[in-house]
């Protein structure tokens, strides 16, 4: 009888030890998981520190059933933006950048604006370039978000953390986006391409957690000749080379701390 009681006690002790070990393991894993750095939206400084300093995300707008603007004849915007993305990818690769594109072809079921923003945000790039083309206006139009720059929270202050709404994700990067647009505008002026800068309420610009600029390529007015359409490969090549050069300069400025 006493032997049996000892056996029972031993068995329950073993169970308790196993139960304690399992519980401790689960708690330890949970604590370790919480200790990992969480990707947070909205705070530019946090995101900048983890950004891939050599990666550019290209977003050729439209695709599939969404053809975008008609640029005359059979030419539609989605084909022009894709062609421009190809030119820009080559120019950026030559300038030493890595490139991720949200669209490499013309899929029948294109990604939504939110999905394209998600691809860009997950890549944590140095900059995001949204490509558009138009048959109206002239030259190159550079657009940044209409959002105001969000106030930077105090680093390490847990009380200062506030969730950033998806539609205002760009707010923490507005200053950097303006700096990038400024560099691009200066580069276009230097290259002899007329450029207009402005702000636009445009998806997915407001959802991007990286310095982001939308570039709309409109026909280039040439003195004494017909306007050069946005679909012209030579024009696209000039635009691509200028953007790549501007990004290189802006990257250097950012590295030296002169850009925000």
């Amino acid at each position: 009888m006493g032997y049996c009681r000892i056996e029972l006690l031993t068995s329950s002790s073993k169970r308790a030890v196993v139960l304690f070990a399992v519980t401790a393991t689960v708690i330890a894993v949970a604590l370790l998981g919480r200790a990992q750095p969480q990707p947070a939206l909205g705070t530019a400084s946090r995101a900048s520190s983890t950004a891939n300093r050599n990666l550019i995300v290209l977003d050729p707008a439209h695709g599939g059933a969404d053809a975008g603007a008609s640029l005359g004849g059979q030419v539609v915007e989605k084909d022009v933006t894709l062609a421009m993305a190809g030119q820009l990818r080559t120019a950026l690769a030559a300038a030493g950048f890595s490139v991720v594109s949200t669209r490499d072809g013309d899929p029948t079921a294109p990604l939504t604006a939110d999905q394209r923003a998600e691809i860009a945000n997950r890549a944590r790039p140095l900059a995001c370039i949204v490509l558009h083309a138009s048959g109206a206006g002239s030259g190159v139009h550079l657009y940044t978000s209409t959002l105001r720059q969000a106030d930077a929270g105090v680093e390490g202050d847990a009380e200062s953390f506030t969730a950033t709404p998806w539609d205002e994700a760009q707010a923490g990067f507005v200053a950097q986006s303006l700096s990038l647009a400024s560099s691009l505008s200066a580069a276009f002026s230097k290259a002899g391409l007329p450029a207009l800068s402005g702000h636009a309420a445009l998806r997915p610009l407001d959802n991007l957690t990286c310095p982001a600029v939308a570039i709309e390529v409109a026909p280039l007015l040439v003195a004494g000749a017909d306007p050069m359409p946005a679909s012209d490969p030579g024009y696209q090549q000039r635009v691509a080379a200028t953007v790549a050069a501007a990004l290189r300069v802006w990257q250097d400025q950012a590295a030296q701390g002169s850009a925000p």
């Binding site: 439209h62 603007a69 647009a181 800068s197 445009l202």
Partner: protein, 232 residues
């Protein structure tokens, strides 16, 4: 035995009857169409002579992406929503005139305008459960900047949106022009939302976001409109 002469006469008369019948039917159809066209234009109420007043329009220019304030003389109805609708319709019509620097197709553009007093939602007590639930919505949409502030809901015509020139610049300038014209003429309107044919729509024609609430500000200062050269 019927003579050849009688047979020719019979078929000739039959043909004439058919021809007259066809002409009569065609004439009736044309008359009905004419009447139905006139019915649309038939005035139902006696015209009221209204004194014209000076209004300010913020008109866009595609060439340099600017928005300029211009004065126009216009007779406006007294009722607020009809007044807003008439003014915006006049402003859009400006773009279909010869020599416009922001060319849009002529035709009806604004179906309706609704003016709603802000705040749309009741104020939430700080720290309440409802307040914590609405923490995600950090924007000030739905809340007035000043007492008596209004939200204008503009219902655009679907044909207008579908045939609007597609592009960031063209669409942004149209939106900015509407917002700026409201700012210049209706100080109580603080925010604007857009519908197309009574339904929310993602973009005007592929670019300008129509799902957001626009703050009514002066667009001639180029706060939102494109501006030349480096932006900083």
């Amino acid at each position: 035995m019927i003579s050849r002469y009688h047979r020719i006469l019979f078929w000739t008369l039959t043909g004439a009857i058919l021809l007259m019948g066809f002409v009569l039917l065609h004439g009736c159809r044309q008359a009905r169409e004419k009447l139905s066209r006139q019915r649309d234009l038939t005035p139902l109420a006696a015209p009221v002579a209204g004194a014209s007043e000076t209004v300010q329009l913020e008109v866009a220019n595609d060439a340099d992406g600017s928005i300029t304030l211009v004065d126009r003389e216009l007779a406006l109805p007294s009722e607020a929503t009809a007044r807003t609708r008439t003014l915006l319709a006049r402003m859009i019509a400006e773009y279909s005139y010869k020599g416009s620097r922001h060319v849009l197709e002529s035709g009806p553009a604004i179906d309706d305008v609704f003016l709603l007093d802000l705040p749309i939602r009741p104020a939430v007590e700080p720290g309440s459960a409802a307040d914590s639930n609405s923490a995600q919505d950090s924007s000030n949409s739905g809340q007035p900047q000043n007492e008596g502030g209004q939200l204008a809901v503009i219902n655009l015509n679907g044909e207008f949106a579908d045939h609007h020139p597609s592009g960031i610049e063209a669409e942004t300038l149209t939106i900015d022009s509407i917002v700026g014209t409201l700012y210049a003429n209706f100080p109580r309107i603080e925010q604007v939302r857009f519908l197309v044919d009574g339904q929310p729509r993602e973009t005007l024609n592929g670019h300008a976001d129509l799902l957001r609430t626009y703050a009514v500000i002066d667009m001639t200062t180029n706060k939102s409109a494109p501006r030349e050269g480096p932006s900083q």
